[in-house]
Amino acid sequence: MNRKDKKYIFMFIFIFLGVISTVQFKSILNNTKDKPSIAYEIENLMKELEAEKATGQELKEAIDFSMQKKESIFKTFSSDNDDGVLTAQWEEAKLYAGFTDVKGEGIIITLNDATEKNPIMAELSLLHDEDINRVVNELKRGGAQAISINDERVISATEITCAGPTIRVNRNRYAVPYVIKAIGDPKRMISIFKESEIYTILKWVDIRIDIKEAKEIKIPKYSGNIDNLINGLEVVDQ
């Protein structure tokens, strides 16, 4: 190998090296440019989400306030004109419908997915809509008089369905853990729940179940829009 050959070899190596280092440099530059932009976008979205949530909270409070105002207008009217007969009827109907905050003695059941994946079927270690639905049904069987799931009041229209990894209750989505509160006779509800098929099934697949008795449980009223529940209906006079 003479000197001239060596020079050519080096020339090629250097050309190759030059190209590689340019590509490398450029790609790193691009990356560092990209990264902050995604992070920036996420940050922006988070801020926007926070803002929307705050707006939602404010609107809910405003609606609550207006509802109270409406209620007090009706109350004044009713006590001035019919000795409060109509508002008494209203309060009674609302209590049956689930439109009143209530409290009383009862139980709190907390359900959570199993800590370890089921070796046979991973799905079994997760809670499903049907499980929650059946637990709620057992509580009703045990004489519950008011029930809430993650503070969503269970009313006649309340659906419990799967929405991906979460469940939907009263059109709102919730993830585990599911806290089910029920007002009623604690002893009777617990014994009926523990004897039920669904309790055995959930225990069998290692779903975490925590049952607590409580002296004073608060269950909030239905928070959705009532008018959305009655369209398409017509009342028949009897």
Partner: protein, 233 residues
């Protein structure tokens, strides 16, 4: 010359080694962050859309309420208007509570147990009722037992109990539902899964769209109506 050459080759190799390592690491990092970020980014966008939609609904509801309140303000002293509005509020609560007899378009689901009444279980009915609620049923009754907030559907032995009353399974069970007519197709489609599951167990489920269904209110004596343990504030 030879010494110089060796040094320069060493330096070149060093640079190359460092840059290869650098490159490798940055590619690895990118892959990692990209996969996390696309998930959270999509997730965040979904959440934002949902939140915006719910806020939109809240806003309309708030505006409606305000309009109503202003209406009261304007009609001060108009006793009839107050009475009408208050009565409307009572009626709404009575519908949801299940006291009022209601009428509307909907679906009648006939469930026939062809296995001598042995196959049909309470949880099948529970599943159907829950699906109907999820597809925006406005009023539901199982054999004219109105579904109210605390209605249970259970078995005692071989008998299915709804609102504390036994359901006769020697006759076909009829579930009546009232819902907005444009939502009926979706409801029937959503029921499809349960229907085909029950068919394998010799239970024939046939939903039928009907106009003008009447669903009676809940009877007064039902235990699901008890509320003596509830304290209101």
């Amino acid at each position: 010359m030879k010494f110089n050459l060796n040094i320069s080759i060493t330096i070149i190799c060093l640079i190359m080694g460092v840059s290869v390592a650098w490159q490798y690491k940055s590619v690895y990092n990118n892959k990692k962050t990209a996969s996390i970020q696309t998930v959270t980014l999509e997730d965040l966008k979904d959440k934002l859309i949902l939140e915006k939609k719910s806020n939109e609904e809240l806003r309309t509801r708030y505006e409606e309420l305000e309009k109503e309140l202003n209406g009261f303000e304007a009609a001060k002293g108009n006793i009839d208007l107050y009475k009408k509005n208050l009565n409307a509020e009572i009626e709404k609560a009575r519908i949801i509570a299940g006291f009022s007899t209601v009428k509307g378009s909907g679906i009648v689901i006939t469930i026939k147990d062809t296995d001598f009444g042995m196959a049909l279980q309470s949880q099948h009915l529970l599943q159907i009722v829950n699906t109907l609620k999820a597809t925006e049923a406005r009023a539901i009754a199982v054999n004219d037992e109105r579904i109210i907030p605390m209605t249970e559907i259970s078995d005692v032995g071989n008998v299915i109990i709804v609102n504390g009353m036994p359901i006769d399974i020697n006759e076909p069970v009829k579930i009546k539902v009232i819902m907005e007519s444009q939502k009926r197709d979706n409801a029937i489609k959503t029921l499809g899964y349960i229907i085909s599951e029950l068919r394998e167990k010799n239970i024939e489920v046939s939903p039928e769209k009907v106009e003008g269904i009447t669903i009676p209110g809940v009877k007064n004596s039902r235990p699901s109506l008890n509320n003596d343990l509830l304290i209101t504030e």
